[in-house]
Symmetry: C2
Subunit: 349 residues, 2 copies
Amino acid sequence: MFENTTKRTELGDLGEFGLIELIQKSIKLRNPETLKGIGDDAAVIDSNGLNTVVTCDMLVEGVHFDLMFHPLRHLGYKAVVVNLSDVYAMNATPKQILVSIAISNRFSLEAVEELYSGMELACEQYKVDLVGGDTTTSTSGLILSITAIGIAEKDEIVYRNGAKEHDLICVSGDLGGAYMGLQILEREKKIFLENPKIQPDLSGNDYILERQLKPEARKEIPAKLKELGVKPTSMIDISDGLSSEVLHLCRQSGVGCAIYEDKIPIDPQTYDRAREFGLDPTVCALSGGEDYELLFTIRQEDYEKLRMHMDISIIGHITDAGSGSNLVDKSGNQIALTAQGWDALLKKN
Amino acid sequence: MFENTTKRTELGDLGEFGLIELIQKSIKLRNPETLKGIGDDAAVIDSNGLNTVVTCDMLVEGVHFDLMFHPLRHLGYKAVVVNLSDVYAMNATPKQILVSIAISNRFSLEAVEELYSGMELACEQYKVDLVGGDTTTSTSGLILSITAIGIAEKDEIVYRNGAKEHDLICVSGDLGGAYMGLQILEREKKIFLENPKIQPDLSGNDYILERQLKPEARKEIPAKLKELGVKPTSMIDISDGLSSEVLHLCRQSGVGCAIYEDKIPIDPQTYDRAREFGLDPTVCALSGGEDYELLFTIRQEDYEKLRMHMDISIIGHITDAGSGSNLVDKSGNQIALTAQGWDALLKKN
């Protein structure tokens, strides 16, 4: 009925990050209370001297999850955790969430209760309050949109843009597990669809399945850093894969980096399954995503304080921008890092 | 692959408000900063002495809008305004929004730019900042999820639950227009689909079309009330129709009401079109929804201060709970009000 613009540029040609950058450029900030807009793990707002951080994520059935193997209770838990992870990545403490869902009548009330019981469990685990949201009808699948709100002292917030040359690059936990968990689930789904009588064989994969189905946000890491008297110079959570997140930190800080392949923490189960699937475990860690570990940089003088912390790996250091962002492989060769991270728009077109 | 619960209760049997109530009951609040959770126009959080309000809404293509007649720029504008309206309904000032969108590759970059240009226009108009969000792929249509954040002094917040017996019930602007605008658009769409050569005839309907396609939030009303020294005892915005919103105020305040049919403000254009469509203009005002006017109650002693305000109508008064919530029609008959408001789940099943 109404005219549309005649020019047509495909979203896939631009990619998710290209689109975000374009949106960011078209937006003006007007309020002095807005300390940080688009471009970090969360926005930052001055609330009477304290800092409020706000972040949101949308999860779409068929894009971010598959109800064939994501039980609703786990899905609810994960949807909350993913958002809290962004709050911790700002070095803030999550306090409230809002949850909007669009559901088709394919779902029963019992299914919705399962979903919310998972969200409530996450709220209990992380001491946050579910304070609002919206419920509406969907014409097809299930869509979840969660907003998380956190709080921090004014000088506690850690942005993506504070990394300096010679800083050490650290990562919590281990990487690539969630991705390998997904490979297992997708394999078993395929077998099940071909022959519904065969029950899924998930044994021996507990760790990586939990990494995929019921991940945790690393709330103890910022707490530990505070206890040790270490304030990261930059921080981000790993949702799209190590490679993509390192590049975010470097680009926003205007620096380069060297990441050492043999320092990247990979769990033996992740390693073994990757090999079985004919995948390079390092590539799984670099590009797999959904690990929700924290990637951060610290000043060299803080090295001693962290050295003995078992759950933090120092995987490289920050260089000048001119040196680029590189992976140093096991043979000592430098390879430029590329963002192979999850790119929703590119993938699906 | 995984077992599901065997019992199945249809969501449609419960309705949207029933579902919200059920969710609300299953949720615990843990943080003392959380002053108000689910159940008002927005959640309220104590931010170092100031009050932060947060609200979110999800808009789904095919449920809340039809791209046949909602131009993307207007849709972006409306999506923001609808959320800001909830912030004003708390007697707070909106400051920031976060926008998440899920889009299929049916949409071009230019379409996304149109959408965001409408949102940016609303941000400019209402002096708010778009500070974050998420962009993702949708398997079917367009889904928008917006979170709005506002601020108010501690004692300024107005809840739904403060109405007292003998309070006067007020409404801003006029009602039913957005609904009649939608009727016009749906009629013209039908004609267009039957014969695409016939261009839509929208002349003479400017006001009601604007009410539907590009509504405004009534930011000047809380400002005016403040100026007049009137603090409403309760307030809500009209998104689901006067009837539904009055019932919310009464239920949450534990009171009844008498609304006078001849006091309900209806614009002549709304009135004439309703008659042409064979609809009762009062029913359109009571059940149409999407007017985004403010419905509020004031103490009787504030009557003189508001009496001469042209854009506020006093439509009734609060009674005791035992008297029920009633409409007094033009002949003086009392009719119990029922929520005929938009009920997403009930309608679509």
